[in-house]
Symmetry: C2
Subunit: 144 residues, 2 copies
């Protein structure tokens, strides 16, 4: 249930001091200065990664990212990777994460992707199933 009027758009430099890094810190440490974060944003834009934010009254309350990969397989198909979905701890349970994932998925469809994939912890599987996702392969990880 969406209780708050939210506006979804692309992250910009001003958002860094308006709750973006605090929102991400619910996922993992995001101890960056605004300058450091802007530099990362530039690298991501250069690589074609789109960082979406949900704003309420100009403050960032959620985020999700979209990375589109052009494949050779599937006859040149495009795959959307959804990354780093997070909601600010003061705005959980209001449908913000769901709205962001839906937004990113719709954008992926417009960009011609034939599927969108993401990796999540086991406890979030039901959340993504409610959004139409299904279990697929096994994520494997190696620390470097």
């Amino acid at each position: 249930m969406l209780l708050t009027q939210i506006d979804i758009g692309e992250l910009n430099g001003l958002d860094m001091s308006r709750g973006f890094l605090e929102t991400l810190s619910s996922l993992a440490d995001a101890d960056l200065t605004c300058d450091e974060a802007v530099k990362i944003l530039r690298n991501r834009i250069r690589a074609g990664i789109v960082t979406y934010v949900a704003r309420v009254d100009g403050q960032v309350v959620g985020t999700a990212s979209l990375l589109v990969e052009d494949k050779f397989i599937h006859n040149g198909g495009r795959v959307a990777h959804i990354e780093d979905v997070a909601t600010h701890r003061d705005f959980t349970k209001q449908g913000i994460g769901a709205a962001l994932v839906h937004h990113a998925t719709e954008r992926a469809r417009e960009l011609g992707c034939y599927k969108a994939i993401l990796n999540c912890a086991e406890n979030l599987v039901p959340f993504y199933e409610r959004l139409g996702f299904q279990r697929h392969e096994q994520e494997m990880r190696i620390d470097l």
Copy 2:
């Protein structure tokens, strides 16, 4: 066990007609003309995706791709995504896939990534475990 002398390098246009697309077809359809494949390669290079190939006598016998994502979380950490690992059907069981994954993982380490991740079918989990990977999260997928 590696029975063949292989050379690993980055994909170039000449590889398209030297077994690259045939190698990928062991994963999924890759019915592309060389021109189409070169166009996709350009898009991938622009996005920073590196496509490695293993060659034997100038013929492509394996491939793996590396996509490096600059994160805001983990204090600006970098994550390596390993994609589309494939071996030509005439060259399986010779360690080519393992060599390619090792090559991509080492490159990810040099580029400062703190982890490398990939998604695979359940039957390939033991293969990746032998290379040092561990089960991590659940991949979720939605068809668009």
